[in-house]
């Protein structure tokens, strides 16, 4: 046991008391049960789902009529592979680009002096509240005249535009709280703001960047409306949400099929989250000030 752990032990800090564990378990259970219901129902027929509770199938698994039909319908729909790849094509850049722009901007607003700083920041961040339905028609008109409709570049830019205010807001909150002395020592050592940004700020901001990356990824991956309007439904650009909506309806009209579709779509975001978990490690800040 490390020295630190020993010291904690002696202070009576139990690493995970039973009360803590019970509470965590309770919250996890309450949070998971709704989704569990969906998962179980995705393996049942529509008639079963609407006549008996899903837990009854769990309690008597042998006598239940499990079925793979829902998944079959969703997975064998012809365009699914292409739609999946299209989603990746759209989502990855539409996550990286806004984060990049936002990180640069957040750093600029937080640590550089220039004219119009407060105003620009205020306006930029205040736009978080704009509901994006308002932008659809004016932007589509512009896209039409610049032939961006149905192009990947067009939708990357659209998602960037819509996601930037929140991104800047979140990253600013983090970057502005970095200790001032690390910059001072860096500049004394001859760094330009650009190198200070790339060599210092970015590595230190990884938790914040990772946090926002997850949310932006999810938002874009699950987005339907922006893809529908700016990208379209033709098979060479249709993303997963569009493809699934064409099977089950965008508002869940055939929602007995949606159960399977929802889980198919959920897989990738979960993988992204789990793989980015390791960036949330304690002590990232400590010990990396001089770098």
């Amino acid at each position: 046991m490390t020295a630190r752990a020993e010291r904690l032990r002696s202070l009576g800090v139990v690493r995970s008391g039973w009360l803590v564990r019970i509470t965590v378990l309770l919250i996890v259970a309450v949070w998971t049960i709704p989704s569990l219901g969906l998962l179980v129902n995705s393996f049942r027929s529509s008639v079963d789902s609407s006549s008996t509770g899903w837990w009854t199938s769990l309690l008597s698994p042998i006598s239940t009529q499990w079925t793979l039909d829902n998944y079959n319908r969703v997975l064998t729909s012809g365009g699914l592979f292409d739609a999946f790849i299209n989603s990746l094509i759209v989502t990855i850049p539409a996550t990286i680009i806004p984060i990049t722009l936002a990180a640069f901007a957040a750093f600029g607003f937080a640590w550089l002096k220039f004219r119009g700083r407060s105003l620009m920041f205020g306006v930029l961040v205040g736009l978080i509240v704009v509901p994006l339905q308002l932008s659809l028609v004016p932007l589509l008109k512009i896209y039409q005249s610049t032939e961006l409709t149905g192009s990947f570049l067009g939708i990357w830019l659209a998602h960037t535009g819509f996601g930037l205010p929140l991104a800047v807001f979140l990253l600013y909150n983090f970057i502005s709280q970095l200790p001032q002395d690390i910059f001072e020592s860096a500049y004394i050592d001859g760094a330009t703001p650009f190198t200070a940004f790339t060599r210092l700020v970015l590595p230190l901001s990884v938790p914040a960047l990772a946090s926002f990356a997850i949310f932006q990824f999810l938002w874009v991956w699950n987005d339907f409306l922006v893809a529908l309007v700016f990208l379209g439904t033709s098979s060479d650009v249709a993303v997963l949400t569009i493809e699934l909506a064409s099977i089950v309806g965008s508002r869940g009209e055939a929602f007995h099929l949606l159960t399977a579709a929802a889980f198919v779509s959920m897989l990738i975001p979960l993988i992204v989250f789990l793989s980015l978990q390791r960036f949330f490690v304690r002590g990232l800040l400590a010990g990396s000030v001089k770098g």
Partner: protein
């Protein structure tokens, strides 16, 4: 928004409709002399041969297309039918002969989130060539915005008027210009019941309102559950089922003039005749034990599952549902069967129409108002004017455009030139029902201004159900108050 033409046509054309029930085959509008020998009525469809100097279809651009003039071009057409649904599959199937005969590629885009997608596309300058629209009100909105191509400029409207049920032709016009070609019709005045269940219990199909009520009482007295399966929950479209009931009843309890004036707001929304219709509706919806599960069930159950209790293991728990024919695909196990294969023909469904579940005409209420039929329909409108687009639209106005769909079931045409023997159950009976109707009413909520028709009328009905039918006058007054001024 003046709909005086409705008044003129509604009653008058009933005679016309009766005359074109298919047996006589003669449509009676002026200038219709070419319809009796119109090549489009032959089942073999010899108009689809590529132009060897064949007979003209009567439509200029279609003739050119058939002669191969537009070979290689593309037309984009949107509809709200879900891409994996049987409607989309059937529409695709029915379009095939067109492409074969003309070489024009038809890019059919069934579009989810239709309400938003179409509007944004049109407003943003990215409109499709043709689009399906269910509500005349929507067509008016687009026409007012100048987005639609005026069809009367180039279409042979005389021919179309002669070959289409006049009410539908008229509904496609706005400000004396034709904007929409009606294509697919829906009949709403039917009630589904379990065949075997009725036979076992000795129930007879009611033909009058009093018999209907008596049957309902009988079912309760026999301890056979509740007579009616009713529910209206459909997510963001909550309430439209209730509006259909109101309209169907109003057609039976008041003269057609009242119905039309109600739509055009020449009488207030809560006119006494309308309130009287509401009372009839309350009789079925809110009498104790009539509706399965009571008013909570009505508001809380999704419309696809309304009829499930009819198929309960130990016999029907509710016995009648008033709903258009599309409901067949949602009966219990049919949902799963069709999820597996949307092209499954209805004689292979687990719960079969006609043999397992049949329908009867929603009965007459007051004899003097005869046997009206409530319906709705889909039309196609045009956004982009090109010759090949014109050709496709003209083709959609011919029976050939309906043939492929009709033979698969689930399609009722708006044309009078479709041969009766093309139809299968239930549309063969439905087209007769339409033909015999003393009045054909178009879905009123589709004709009213949107703030009411898809706004306060819907939500008002939901509120009324939540109150279990209490406060009828307040509910209808509120809807009346919400009618847009000017």
């Amino acid at each position: 928004m003046s709909k005086r033409w409705l008044i003129a046509t509604m009653v008058a054309f009933s005679l016309i409709v009766a005359a074109c029930g298919g047996d006589t085959g003669a449509t009676t509008t002026t200038g219709g002399t070419d319809t009796t020998e119109a090549p489009t009525t032959t089942a073999e469809g010899d108009t689809t041969t590529t132009g060897e100097g064949g007979e003209s279809t009567g439509y200029e651009h279609l003739d050119q297309a058939l002669a191969g003039d537009f070979d290689g071009s593309t037309v984009e057409i949107w509809a709200q039918w879900l891409p994996e649904s049987s409607e989309a599959a059937n529409f695709t199937h029915t379009l095939e002969p067109f492409t074969e005969a003309t070489g024009i590629t038809v890019n059919f885009q069934p579009t989810p989130d239709y309400e938003t997608a179409l509007q944004v596309a049109v407003d943003g300058g990215n409109a499709p060539d043709l689009a399906q629209i269910a509500q005349p009100g929507k067509m008016h909105q687009y026409a007012d915005a100048g987005s639609l191509v005026a069809l009367s400029d180039w279409l042979n409207t005389d021919k179309l008027a002669a070959e289409m049920v006049p009410a539908f032709y008229e509904l496609g016009t706005y400000n004396d210009t034709l904007y929409g070609v009606y294509y697919k019709a829906d009949v709403k005045s039917i009630v589904w019941y379990p065949v075997q269940g009725f036979a076992d219990a000795g129930y007879e199909v009611p033909t009058t309102w009093d018999e209907l009520v008596a049957l309902s009482d009988q079912i309760i007295a026999d301890g056979n559950g509740n007579p009616w399966c009713i529910s209206i929950e459909s997510q963001e479209a909550d309430g439209w089922v209730a509006t259909d009931w109101m309209e169907d009843i109003l057609l039976r309890t008041a003269p057609p003039e009242i119905y039309n004036q109600w739509i055009t707001h020449e009488i207030p929304f809560n006119h006494p005749e309308v309130l009287e219709a509401a009372d009839y509706m309350s009789q079925i919806w809110f009498t104790d034990d009539y509706a399965y599960g009571g008013n909570t069930y009505i508001n809380a159950t999704w419309i696809g599952e309304t009829q499930d209790p009819m198929f309960a293991e130990d016999g029907p728990q509710c016995w009648m549902q008033k709903q258009a024919a599309w409901i067949g695909g949602f009966w219990g196990a049919n949902r799963d069967a069709l999820a597996d294969d949307p092209n499954l023909p209805s004689d292979q469904w687990p719960i079969k129409p006609e043999t397992d579940v049949d329908f009867f005409y929603f009965p007459q209420i007051e004899e003097e108002f005869g046997t009206p039929v409530l319906g709705a329909a889909d039309m196609f409108v045009m956004y982009n004017d090109r010759p090949e687009v014109r050709a496709l639209l003209e083709w959609l106005a011919t029976p050939e455009a309906a043939e492929g769909w009709i033979e698969r079931g689930g399609f009722l045409s708006t044309l009078t030139t479709v041969p009766e023997d093309w139809y299968v159950y239930p549309n063969n009976q439905l087209s007769t029902m339409v033909a015999d109707a003393t009045t054909l009413g178009f879905d009123a909520s589709d004709l009213m201004p949107a703030e009411v028709g898809v706004g306060s009328f819907w939500s008002g009905m939901v509120d009324w159900v939540a109150a279990n039918g209490e406060g009828t006058e307040e509910v209808f007054q509120e809807i009346e108050d919400s009618w847009p001024t000017g």
